[in-house]
C-alpha cells in the first residue's frame, strides 16, 4: 500500500519545487518565448502582407506601362500617318505648280512663235511687194521691146524667183 500512500516529504518538496519552477518560468521564460513566437508570427505576416501589396503595386505599374506602350504606339502611328499625308500633299502641290509653270512657259513660247511668225509673214509680204515692184519696174523698162522677148524675160524672172 506504500504505492498509493503519498509521503509528506515528497508533497512538501513538490509544492516548493513546482512553485519555484512555475515562478521562474512564468517570470523569465514563458513571456519571452510566447512573445518571441508571437512577434515573429507578426513579422512574417507583415512581410507577407507587404509582399502582396508590392505585388499588387507591381501589377498596377505593369498595367500602366502596357497602357503607355499602347498609347505610344498609337501616337507613333498617328504621327506617321500625318507625315505621309503631309508629304503627299507637298508632292501634289509641287506637281501642280510645276505643271502650271510648264503650261505658262509653253503659252509664252507659243505666243513668241506666233509673234515671230507674224513678223516673218510681214517681212515676206513686204519682200514680195518689193520684189513685185522691182519686177514691175523691170517689166515696165522692157515693155517697148518685142513681145516675145518680154514673155521670155518674165518667165525667166519668175523662174529665178521660184528658185529663190
Amino acid at each position: 500500500m506504500e504505492l498509493i500512500k503519498p509521503s509528506f516529504g515528497l508533497i512538501f518538496w513538490m509544492l516548493i519545487g513546482f512553485s519555484i519552477l512555475f515562478f521562474i518560468l512564468a517570470r523569465f521564460a514563458w513571456p519571452v518565448i510566447t512573445n518571441g513566437i508571437a512577434s515573429r508570427n507578426k513579422k512574417i505576416q507583415d512581410q507577407l502582407d507587404e509582399a502582396a501589396k508590392v505585388h499588387e503595386e507591381m501589377e498596377k505599374i505593369h498595367l500602366r506601362h502596357d497602357e503607355m506602350v499602347a498609347q505610344a504606339k498609337a501616337d507613333r502611328d498617328a504621327i506617321l500617318a500625318e507625315a505621309r499625308k503631309i508629304s503627299a500633299e507637298i508632292q501634289e502641290n509641287a506637281k501642280a505648280k510645276a505643271d502650271s509653270e510648264a503650261q505658262a512657259i509653253i503659252e509664252e513660247a507659243k505666243k513668241a512663235i506666233h509673234f515671230e511668225k507674224m513678223k516673218a509673214m510681214t517681212d515676206v509680204k513686204n519682200e514680195i511687194a518689193n520684189l513685185s515692184i522691182d519686177i514691175a519696174e523691170k517689166v515696165m523698162a522692157q515693155e517697148l521691146s518685142d513681145k516675145a522677148k518680154q514673155e521670155q524675160l518674165i518667165s525667166k524672172w519668175v523662174e529665178e524667183n521660184q528658185l529663190n
Binding site: F8, L10, F18, L21
Partner: protein, 374 residues
C-alpha cells in the same frame, strides 16, 4: 551501407550486453537463499527510497546515500547510509517496517547500530515531518534544474535573436509550445488564454520531462516521479485551486442550480448540486490517478517482463537464458509504448487542466470541448 553495418553491430552488442547482464543478475538472484520474489521486487522499483540505488545487489550494491531530514524533537539531518537499507538504526531512527514501511520511525531507545533479525524493536512513534531528500525528491530537483536550464536558454535565444528562424534547442521546443497554444490552450480558454498559458506550459513540460526521465533505466533517470501519487496529487491540486479561483459567477451558479436538469433533482433533495459538488473534486482526483496509474502501470509491466527472466532462471538457468531475448523484446516494445504514453499523458493532463479552467472561466464558445471532457 557502412551505417547499416555499424547499426547491426551496435544492436548485437547491446543485446549481448543485456544477456550478459541478465545472466549475472540471475546468478546473484540464485545465490539468494529465499529465492526471487517478483512482487516486492517490482514494488521496490516503482516506489520511493531513501537512497539512489545504481547497480549491484546486497552488500556489493552501489547506492548514492541521500540525506534524511526530520523535524522530530528539533531538526535531525543525517545520511541514509547510516540506516543500511533498513538494517541499522541511527540515534534511535530506523526505517519503518510492516505498516510503517516507507517512513522513518523513532525507536523507544536511542539505539545506534545494527538491527538484529528476529529481534523485536519497540517503535516509539512515526516521524510525521519527514522531508528527507529521497530518490524522488532528488529526481525532482534534477528535473527542475534541467527544465529551468532548457527554458532559460531557449528564452535567451529569443532575446538574442529576435524574429529569426529558431535554432538548436529552440527548434525542438517551439513547435511543441506552438502546438499546445494552438490546439490546447487557446481553444479551451479563448481570450483568457494568456493568463493561464504559463501554468499550462510549465505543467506540460514538467510532466513530459519527468515521464521521459522515468523511462531511462539508469542514473540519473529511473526515478518514478510522475508515477508517484504525491507528485501527481500536487499537480492536480494546482489545477484544482487554479480552477476554483478562476471560477466566475456562472460556474458556481451552474453547480448550485444546474441548467437543463429536471427540477425534482434539485428540490427538495439537492441531488444534482451534490453530484456537481462532488464533481469539483473528482476532476482533479481523476487527473491525479490517471497520470499515476498510467506511468506506474507501464513501469510495472516492464519490470514484470524483466522478472520473468529471474523466475524462469530459478527453475533452470537455461530456461532463463531462453526467456531473456523474449523479455528484452517485450521490454523494447513496452519502452516504445511508454515513450508514446509519456507524451500522451502529459498532453492529456494539460488538455484536461485547460478544459477545467476554461469551464470555470465560463467560455461560452467552447461547449464542444467541455462535452469532450465529460
Amino acid at each position: 551501407m557502412k551505417y547499416n553495418k555499424l547499426y547491426y553491430i551496435l544492436s548485437l552488442f547491446t543485446i549481448a550486453a543485456l544477456l550478459l547482464f541478465s545472466a549475472q543478475s540471475l546468478k546473484a538472484a540464485q545465490n539468494e537463499e529465499e529465492g526471487f520474489n517478483a512482487g516486492p521486487f517490482i514494488i521496490e522499483h516503482v516506489i520511493d527510497s531513501y537512497g539512489w540505488h545504481i547497480c549491484g545487489d546486497g552488500d556489493k550494491s552501489v547506492t548514492i546515500p541521500l540525506p534524511i531530514i526530520l523535524f522530530d524533537d528539533g531538526l535531525q539531518v543525517f545520511s541514509s547510509s547510516h540506516l543500511h537499507h533498513g538494517e541499522a538504526a541511527y540515534n534511535g531512527y530506523a526505517m519503518g517496517w510492516g505498516e510503517n514501511k516507507g517512513s522513518i520511525v523513532k525507536l523507544q531507545d536511542d539505539y545506534t547500530g545494527h538491527l538484529e533479525e528476529g529481534q523485536e524493536y519497540a517503535v516509539d512513534h512515526v516521524c510525521k515531518f519527514n522531508i528527507s531528500i529521497t530518490k524522488n525528491v532528488c529526481a525532482l530537483f534534477l528535473s527542475l534544474a534541467l527544465i529551468i536550464w532548457i527554458f532559460l536558454s531557449v528564452a535567451k535565444q529569443y532575446e538574442r535573436h529576435p524574429n529569426e528562424a529558431p535554432r538548436g534547442l529552440q527548434g525542438l521546443i517551439e513547435p511543441v509550445v506552438v502546438f499546445l497554444q494552438d490546439e490546447v490552450i487557446n481553444p479551451s480558454l479563448g481570450d483568457k488564454a494568456a493568463k493561464y498559458t504559463p501554468y499550462l506550459l510549465t505543467l506540460f513540460f514538467f510532466i513530459l520531462l519527468n515521464n521521459l526521465m522515468g523511462i531511462i533505466p539508469i542514473f540519473p533517470g529511473g526515478a518514478n516521479l510522475t508515477g508517484n501519487i504525491a507528485v501527481t496529487g500536487i499537480l492536480a491540486l494546482f489545477t484544482f485551486f487554479i480552477t476554483q479561483f478562476s471560477g466566475n459567477k456562472e460556474y458556481w451558479k451552474d453547480i448550485v442550480n444546474t441548467p437543463g436538469v429536471p427540477w425534482w433533482l434539485k428540490i427538495p433533495l439537492p441531488i444534482m448540486p451534490f453530484v456537481e459538488f462532488i464533481g469539483i473534486f473528482t476532476k482533479p482526483f481523476v487527473l491525479m490517478v490517471r497520470l499515476f496509474a498510467n506511468i506506474t502501470a507501464g513501469h510495472i509491466i516492464i519490470l514484470g517482463f524483466i522478472s520473468l527472466i529471474f523466475i524462469f532462471g530459478q527453475m533452470t538457468p537455461v530456461l532463463g537464458f531462453a526467456v531473456s531475448p523474449v523479455s528484452v523484446l517485450f521490454y523494447i516494445f513496452m519502452g516504445c509504448l511508454e515513450l508514446l504514453v509519456a507524451f500522451i499523458q502529459a498532453f492529456v493532463f494539460t488538455l484536461l487542466s485547460a478544459i477545467y479552467i476554461g469551464m470555470a472561466c465560463g467560455n461560452e464558445e467552447h461547449e464542444e470541448h467541455t462535452e469532450l471532457a465529460k
